[in-house]
Symmetry: C2
Subunit: 331 residues, 2 copies
């Protein structure tokens, strides 16, 4: 019997990565900056080209790969039942000229599933945080936890949600956009989506930089060092993050939050007590026992999330037991 190989595609607003894997683990990975010019089909075609290049590097016949999983930034829309991207930092046609005049296209949407289906029989596309959650559920911190969420606190804020053991997708695959949940009726902080006072507007790395005038990394370093202005902003951001987690808990009765992203990775130890205070002191009937944990797949999470969407279930035990998901040095 011929060996089976699968593809994984990680599509971000900045970079795109393609990975090829077999039962023995990931075999090759290639990455490029995400294409943002030319025809709206360009990002999908770039994905195909990267998968082809990864196959060449791994010595795998590209034509024999029939299944691909995609972890992508969102939001998504469905066009003729197939997922397209309507991502503000890829689609120049969605943003006003004064805000994102740097995008060299006027795309209203990017056809992704239709382009990939020209090559592959089976294409599974999920929001990047949903894909990350599948990976953490299969191999990492969320194993065996039926009610959990993956949260990234980085340049933006994203959620992947799992309730009663079901990953939540929603009508267009956009479940988990809790970063766009409105929390403040007063804040003048504006999100890339145009709204004021949502979670991203209040605490995304991008917005903290706007508030502080220096990077989010510098902000939290200064706060830890005792700088009063930085500490006020950082403490406020922990409060908002705690309120966001409280709202998700009240709505979905989550048991465990797996929190990743650069802000939490570097400053979660300092932030966690502030966040827990905001979360635990509210309505104990809903919040008792909720825990925050670290992801276990770290920088592998996007690639492995994409691959896991395409993976035959019978591979999972070996990948988990031997940590085959670590096999490929991501360089």
């Amino acid at each position: 019997m011929q060996s089976l190989y699968i593809g994984g595609l990680d599509i971000g607003g900045t970079k795109m990565a393609a990975t090829i894997a077999g039962a023995e683990g990931p075999l090759a990975r290639v990455t490029e900056l995400t294409v943002k010019s030319g025809d709206a089909r360009a990002p999908g075609e770039q994905g195909l080209a990267l998968l082809k290049a990864a196959c060449a590097q791994a010595g795998v016949d590209f034509g024999a790969v029939t299944t691909v999983g995609v972890s992508s930034c969102g939001p998504f829309v469905k066009q003729h039942g197939l997922i397209s991207l309507v991502t503000p930092n890829i689609c120049g046609g969605l943003v006003s000229d004064d805000k994102h005049g740097d995008l060299p296209n006027r795309w209203q949407s990017v056809p992704l599933e239709s382009v990939l289906r020209e090559q592959f029989e089976t294409v599974t596309i999920e929001n990047d945080c949903v894909a990350a959650l599948t990976a953490e559920r299969a191999f990492g911190a969320a194993r065996g936890i039926a009610n959990c969420a993956y949260v990234t606190w980085s340049t933006g804020i994203g959620f992947g949600l799992c309730v009663d053991g079901h990953l939540l997708r929603g009508k267009n695959g956009n479940a988990g956009h809790a970063g766009h949940m409105l929390l403040s009726e007063l804040s003048a902080a504006q999100c890339g989506c145009g709204n004021y006072g949502d979670v991203e507007a209040l605490i995304s790395g991008r917005n903290l930089e706007t508030q502080y005038g220096r990077s989010a990394a510098e902000l939290f370093e200064a706060a830890r060092a005792g700088d009063a202005a930085a500490r006020a902003i950082a403490t406020e951001s922990a409060k908002w993050f705690g309120r966001a987690l409280y709202n998700v808990t009240a709505m979905l009765d989550i048991a465990v939050f797996i929190i990743g992203g650069s802000v939490w990775q570097h400053h979660g130890d300092w932030l966690q007590p502030l966040v827990m205070q905001e979360l635990e002191t509210r309505l104990p009937a809903l919040t008792a026992g909720v825990t925050l944990v670290r992801p276990q797949l770290d920088s592998y999470v996007a690639d492995i999330g994409a691959l896991h969407l395409a993976m035959p279930p019978e591979w999972e035990d070996d990948w988990r037991a031997a940590q085959l998901w670590r096999r490929f040095d991501r360089g």
Copy 2:
């Protein structure tokens, strides 16, 4: 073969109702004020007594009923894996003396599932809005809709949630407590749960009465008649409700909200344009096409929700086609 009969129990903070049904539809219903004194087992035992009385009225052998569905106010906790109620307007031990000194008990929780399991083999307990959503999905406005929510805007605010065709329950069956989602960082309005600025604090019938000094019904009547003070409060409440629906949409990618409860039942026509403006004008990629509809089961929803939790699937087609759920005059 002996005929099969099932029980349904609707437990509210004020009233409790028991219904007995067969394949031919509901047969009898008895109701009482919810017992709030004596031992903490009292509400569960009242449920058993009411189901027994409903059986007697229907001429059904109580001992032969093995399956019961329960639609109950929450929140829930699990004790030894079985659901107990920690409902502030039933459990006097959960609230401070100055707030709810009228509750004649010091119960910390009410054992429900354990008491009912002493009599019944199969007991399925859901939050009242989750039960309502199962009923609307089976027989009413949510048939065939995979991503939908049932919302009640009444004395309190409750949600039942369904994503990708799965009813959301959560670790303790508390998914859907979106009425406790924090929306305002400024509001001095306090919820029964103790928090300030959550959806219930801002717009529940109870809170609108506190703001306006007269009942929510009088408030909306006066607003429609053009009274400026009433109109300001009513318009503000529509704005908060729209923000709550937006947050649920961003988090869960819901397609349809089925909205019930006395406020919406009487004033939804006036409120809807204001609510839609708050919802639709935000992040079209997430909100495009979201619709608000009326429930179809109306005053039957709690009884039928409870019964549907206990119902053999093979009854559903007949109950739907012949509207057997209407068969029993609720009086």
